[in-house]
């Protein structure tokens, strides 16, 4: 397929859409870091605020994804065309602005996914700490966890 004038305009629109998605991923990244800091400091309003920020970024990302699908429909006739394989649909190299935006989106998305996984672990840790505290309050002794040192009597045995 040739990159004619109409196709080039569609690729330009697609580039703008991908750049917008990059900004939304950065917003999500910001919300995720804020969430972790708020959890570590026990800051309830901070966690609430980070949830709102993340929800908004995710909703807008999904809207943008639908818009990207309409652009792909216009460009290659397939709304589900993966951006990764878009190059193969054309005889010439796609504009560098598009390639750069696609690379940036991939690296931003990979980074934010790692940060979200880290938050999931921190939140799980917070839940377990709370359970351990409740156990301690109810039974008068804290349950042993793998990281805890053995009590002196058992350590000497």
């Amino acid at each position: 397929m040739d990159l004619d004038g109409a196709s080039l305009r569609s690729v330009a629109d697609l580039t703008l859409a991908v750049e917008r998605e990059c900004r939304l991923i950065e917003e999500l990244h910001h919300a995720v870091l804020r969430q972790r800091e708020a959890v570590v400091h026990g800051d309830v309003p901070g966690v609430e605020s980070s949830i709102r920020l993340a929800s908004r970024a995710l909703l807008t990302l999904q809207e943008n994804r639908r818009y990207r699908a309409t652009l792909l429909q216009r460009l290659v006739g397939d709304p589900a065309q993966p951006l990764a394989d878009l190059d193969a649909r054309f005889d010439t190299v796609l504009p560098e602005a598009f390639l750069a935006a696609r690379r940036r989106m991939q690296s931003s998305a990979t980074e934010v996914a790692e940060e979200v996984w880290r938050n999931q672990e921190v939140l799980l840790g917070a839940l377990r700490e709370r359970e351990a505290l409740l156990q301690e309050l109810l039974s008068g002794s804290r349950p042993t966890t793998p990281g805890d040192p053995l009590p002196p009597a058992r350590a000497e045995a």
């Binding site: 959890v39 309830v44 609430e48 949830i51 999931q120 921190v122 939140l123 804290r142």
Partner: protein
């Protein structure tokens, strides 16, 4: 007789006990799970074939 006090938290503990109730923790985990799903779908769209 003096009653035993509650154990004090270590000052360098990363997560203060009891400050976040489980409801908000579960809400945060749910939004994070949604974020992971959305990002994973996005990565499926843009990753080079054979790289994921």
């Amino acid at each position: 007789m003096e009653e035993p006090g509650l154990r004090q938290r270590d000052s360098d503990c990363a997560v203060p006990l009891g400050s976040l109730d489980p409801t908000i923790i579960h809400r945060a985990r749910a939004i994070n799970a949604n974020a992971l799903r959305v990002i994973d779908e996005l990565l499926d769209q843009i990753a080079e074939p054979g790289r994921r």
